[in-house]
């Protein structure tokens, strides 16, 4: 069982208000659907979307007072498995095409899936970059302590792609079990550099600095979203997907380190 998150309306009202102030001059009214939706909306989304989707959910609740949005944030593969097993979700947002394919291959998606954002790898270094890491080539050096995701998990597969593209034979000290574990070791200053997603660097705040590198373009992760075929609340699901694809959604995603599709 994955714990579901109930959104605290007061917190989100504040967040949405802040978003309104921050996004001044934009056409925020136009991003909200005119037809009010109600009931409960259940969104299954990749863990990396936690901050952005929580804010968007609050936005939708504000526009539709009779609507309650609840989220289940977890690894995309776990969510895809739960949906295949009949979990009652309305929307699925995956961190890669492969896990979305698990759902679409089982004919569980309603209509087409749409790529709403992208994520690329970045080099995360502790604040101040003590080891003087400058690019992907530093991952071939012996001295710095380096973390890369294990090949079994998506960020590790992406890392293999960029190393192959760059012709770099990486010499990591540890192959991490997920991207957040790699990031934690950077935050603690126990590794000099790790290969993580740009959105993770943005979420980590001041303790971590990100270094972009050209080879990252070889392993761009697409994030697809869809309304599910068995959605208990398809109207609200459609409204949420529209909001994610809107200018508002794109702006929040970009602010969180994601990239426009």
């Amino acid at each position: 069982m994955v714990p579901r998150m109930r959104i605290d309306r007061r917190v989100l009202a504040g967040l949405a208000a802040a978003a309104l102030v921050a996004g001044c001059g934009s056409s925020e009214g136009a991003d909200v659907p005119d037809d009010a939706v109600s009931g409960t909306l259940t969104v299954f989304a990749a863990a990396s979307l936690t901050e952005v989707f929580t804010a968007l959910g609050g936005r939708l609740e504000d526009a539709n007072p009779a609507l309650q949005v609840q989220f289940s944030f977890a690894g995309s593969s776990a969510l895809a498995t739960q949906i295949s097993q009949g979990a009652p979700a309305d929307v699925f947002a995956s961190a890669n095409e492969a896990q979305m394919a698990v759902v679409t291959d089982a004919d569980l998606a309603e209509g087409e899936t749409q790529v709403f954002t992208r994520n690329v790898l970045q080099i995360a270094v502790p604040a101040g970059n003590p080891a003087g890491i400058s690019g992907l080539a530093d991952f071939a050096r012996e001295e710095p302590a380096l973390a890369v995701c294990a090949a079994e998990v998506p960020c590790g597969a992406a890392a293999e792609d960029v190393f192959a593209a760059a012709g770099v034979t990486a010499r990591p000290d540890t192959l991490e079990e997920d991207v957040r574990a790699a990031l934690t070791k950077v935050e603690l200053g126990e590794v000099d550099a790790a290969l993580v997603y740009a959105s993770d660097v943005a979420a980590a705040g001041d303790a971590v600095e990100g270094i972009a590198f050209p080879e990252a373009e070889q392993a761009v992760n697409d994030y697809p979203v869809c309304v599910l075929a068995d959605a208990p609340n398809p109207a609200a699901a459609r409204a949420f997907v529209d909001l994610v694809l809107s200018g508002e959604g794109r702006r929040l995603l970009t602010d969180a380190g994601f990239r426009a599709p």
Binding site: S77, A145, A150, E152, T174, L175, A181, L188, G189, E190
Partner: protein
């Protein structure tokens, strides 16, 4: 045998054994040979056995004296000391791993000094695996041995003292043999816990084949890609640990029949 004991005992056995049966039923026996021959499996198994054994030896070296202090000393700090010993039992192992970073990591209280003075860094080495396993497993040994020391008749020690034996001789020649079965049981618990250790190891020691990737880490990563391979690896780890424990029992504990 009385039913009030027999029925819960039977339920207890089922509760503990059924997950194992589940594993065995799901094991893809036809793939067994291929999975076991996969590169890295032997390496991970060897690393697991070596590091768990080293962690047990380290725990014996530090844990038996600690258990003696807990059981025999009359200081008031004893309660606090016992609570401290049980901290690793309560702490989620991943948190234990982070805590080890904060002390022994490159930026840690002791670790930064080791790095500056001797150029020694512990994380991401086999040493870190042994340290993480010892941290998590030693309390099991300490608690078993302390229990045995409390249950042992202290009059034997008194008699040894009246016969002129010093405190060290008494400990060595009287106390230790008296509680040997307790020490053996504690060491077995400690070894088993170290062998299965996952959270503190993957956090503090990281995961790298040959240096820090023990069997539980290999199983976890295999689970992300190929659940069948993960089941085979789990069954292998179980088989090897059970075989080792049975062998040890026959060799060292068979005579007394205490364990």
């Amino acid at each position: 045998m009385p039913a009030p004991l027999l029925v819960p005992a039977a339920i207890g056995v089922l509760f503990l054994a059924l997950p194992l049966v589940g594993l065995l039923v799901r094991t893809p026996w036809s793939q067994l040979a291929t999975q076991l021959a996969a590169p890295g499996v032997g390496q991970a198994l060897r690393l697991s056995l070596v590091s768990a054994t080293l962690a047990t030896l380290l725990s014996l070296l530090l844990g038996v004296p600690l258990a003696w202090v807990l059981a025999r000393s009359r200081t008031r700090g004893r309660t606090v000391l016992r609570a401290l010993v049980t901290v690793p039992l309560v702490l989620p192992p991943v948190v234990g791993g982070v805590a080890l970073f904060l002390v022994l990591g490159r930026q840690g209280i002791v670790g930064s000094w080791l790095d500056d003075a001797f150029g020694i860094t512990i994380p991401f080495t086999t040493t870190a695996v042994v340290i993480a396993e010892t941290f998590v497993a030693m309390p099991f040994l300490v608690i078993s041995v302390e229990g045995a020391l409390r249950a042992a008749d202290a009059r034997f020690e008194d008699v040894a003292a009246t016969l002129g034996a010093g405190r060290w001789t008494t400990f060595r020649r009287v106390t230790l043999p008296l509680v040997a079965p307790g020490i053996a049981a504690g060491a077995v618990l400690c070894w088993a816990r170290a062998l299965g250790e996952f959270g503190a190891t993957i956090t503090f020691a990281g995961n790298f084949p040959g240096t820090t990737q023990t069997m539980p880490l290999a199983v976890y990563l295999a689970l992300q890609r190929d659940p069948d391979a993960a089941i085979v690896l789990s069954v292998l780890l179980l088989a090897v640990s059970l075989a080792t424990l049975l062998l040890l029992r026959d060799r060292w504990l068979g005579r007394g029949g205490a364990a």
